[in-house]
Subunit: 335 residues, 2 copies
DNA sequence: CTGAAAGCGCTTACAG
DNA sequence: CTGAAAGCGCTTACAG
């Protein structure tokens, strides 16, 4: 069943059928009605390969996710899909390893599938700097800032990680903690980790809390098992810690389990703070004290920027989205 | 940059370039070398729209996921992607609402994107029965059995939910529990819930444990907040319960939090058992006693069946994948 | 308002 | 082993 069959069955030419299918204005109501009747009756769906070949583009939007089991990104994906569906846009999601090269993948996607636009959930600025320029369609990076790169078709929205980390340290300092460990900070999203680390460092300096990066920080990937192992390493090296700041809720949950298995209760024996504000962290025992990233706003502003970029070639925007420090049950007040 | 440019630059015809690009055997080594050199030099990538238009198909595999924040499916997606990548197949993931019509969506996908094959993560057999027949490409349904439908191009792999539920009840019975509530069982995956419910019912009958479905079961969707609310409803209706069997780990975690907020500790005051064997449930406090679905095997057998279906049009297979009852810390022994 | 025709970038019989 | 040409199913100037 092709557009030719519809033309034959309706008694019109293929050009007219195409116009009806694409809602062009210059078709008479009568014609539109009769063509649509046949389309309906036959359950006809145009072949998008032909359509896109002709239009030199595909209609869909790609979402490239760095890391498969990342719950923050799962949340964002859900919201993006809902918003795009409302805007009648189709979205396909592509998962990459946490350490993969998302820019190289995007380039391949552009050649093979010709999306209209791309969302990057997570991204390494160095990879963008090195390889993004051949990509000419509108793109949006979420959870990192691409302002410094200055690409004309790349917007970005992120939480102010540095400020959030500072607030966490202030909270901990206010509760009397002076021995704080930092958990997490993998290579792949190094800028993000770096901003959070810098926030910690600045706040510690300001509050006169000692903070030896080499000793008090333990990197790990975004997973509970890795955080579990890293927590043991960190605590064996720094048994004096009274608080651990994990750079994601998933890591915080892994840390809490590790601490329990080491005979320590949270928050009675040691304090844990997370980051992200995942649903899981608000239903755990104890509920996490954490930084909630506003995923709804990240998604909304991202979709808005991407669609504007596609429709009107609007210039890129780079914005910080407000965060919120949520006080759960995982922080103890030291006397 | 098109195949024509490559032909011009290399001094050959487009047909020869196409043959080189597609690894056809009847090209001389010399020609292949020279054409590839130009392709390399220009960084040429063929236009897949044109290729697929001509070939009447796309090369990629679609993964349709029912429910966005479903962690079991996230695990399966990750494994499927890894296996498909090893097989040099490309995969795009499409998320649908837990209550959406995945068969209608698949049909649209077939028309618009012409995938070579489709994975369904979760699926309602009634929707398949009603609408699957126009789909002619190989498909695989995971976490439900499609044997009874008898479609020639639809394989399925699932855990034996009935047997697993029976084992859970046996475990609970063996620990002295005689007042057991069942949490979960939404409309969308009704067959799955139904099989688990039937397993409970059978085991209860066999062990002479009373089980009033209308009273002791509380449905809810696959989410912590919904499970949280449903747990309160269930316990207010049945305050005599000593154990709750949640049909997913996510629900079990929501239930544990709800119970704690009602002043009950797990497992000291009430027992909770989950289902799925998610990583999250093995790092929670307490660790969940649960049924581990073998996601690696589900993924491996699924990929195997789909690729065989694509390559050799192999007949469909329907298999049960073994499960494992994991004893965590969430079940109490009643005296 | 409508239709015949060109062309998007490929693949593949067909002929040599 | 190689090339000229037809055709995949659409869209869109162009002409009427």
């Amino acid at each position: 069943m092709t557009i030719k069959d519809i033309a034959r069955l309706s008694g019109y030419g293929v050009a007219t059928v195409s116009r009806v299918l694409n809602d062009h204005p210059d078709v008479s109501d009568e014609t539109r009605r009769r063509v649509l009747a046949v389309v309906e009756e036959q359950g006809f769906q145009p072949n998008n390969n032909a359509k896109h070949l002709k239009q030199q583009s595909s209609t869909s939007i790609a979402i490239i996710v760095k890391g498969t089991m990342n719950l923050l990104f799962a949340d964002l994906v859900e919201r993006l899909q809902a918003l795009l569906r409302d805007a009648e846009e189709d979205a396909a999601v592509y998962y990459l390893d946490e350490d993969a090269n998302e820019v190289a993948y995007a380039l391949q996607l552009c050649r093979e599938r010709r999306p209209m636009g791309i969302f990057f959930l997570g991204g390494d600025l160095e990879l963008f700097r090195a390889g993004f320029s051949p990509i000419t369609i509108p793109c949006v990076l979420l959870t990192n800032s691409a302002r410094e790169l200055g690409f004309g078709n790349l917007s970005s929205f992120t939480t102010d990680d540095g400020a959030a980390a500072e607030q966490v340290i202030e909270l901990l300092g206010g509760h009397g903690h002076r021995h704080i460990g930092l958990l997490g900070g993998n290579w792949s999203c190094s800028q993000i980790s770096f901003r959070r680390l810098t926030g910690c460092r600045n706040a510690c300096a300001r509050l006169d809390i000692p903070f030896d990066v080499d000793r008090q920080c333990e990197p790990c990937r975004y997973s509970m098992p890795e955080a579990y192992a890293a927590t043991r390493v960190l605590l064996e090296r720094c048994p004096e810690l009274t608080a651990i700041f994990a750079v994601s809720d998933v890591m915080a949950l892994g840390a809490i389990r590790a601490l329990r298995d080491m005979g320590k209760r949270v928050p009675e024996d040691i304090t844990v703070v997370g980051y992200d504000g995942l649903v899981s962290g608000q239903y755990s025992l104890p509920r996490l004290t954490t930084v909630r990233q506003d995923t709804q706003q990240l998604a909304e502003r991202g979709v808005d920027a991407l669609l504007r970029g596609i429709a009107r070639n609007s210039p890129p925007v780079h914005e910080l989205v407000p965060f919120q420090l949520i006080e759960g049950e995982s922080v103890a007040q030291l006397s």
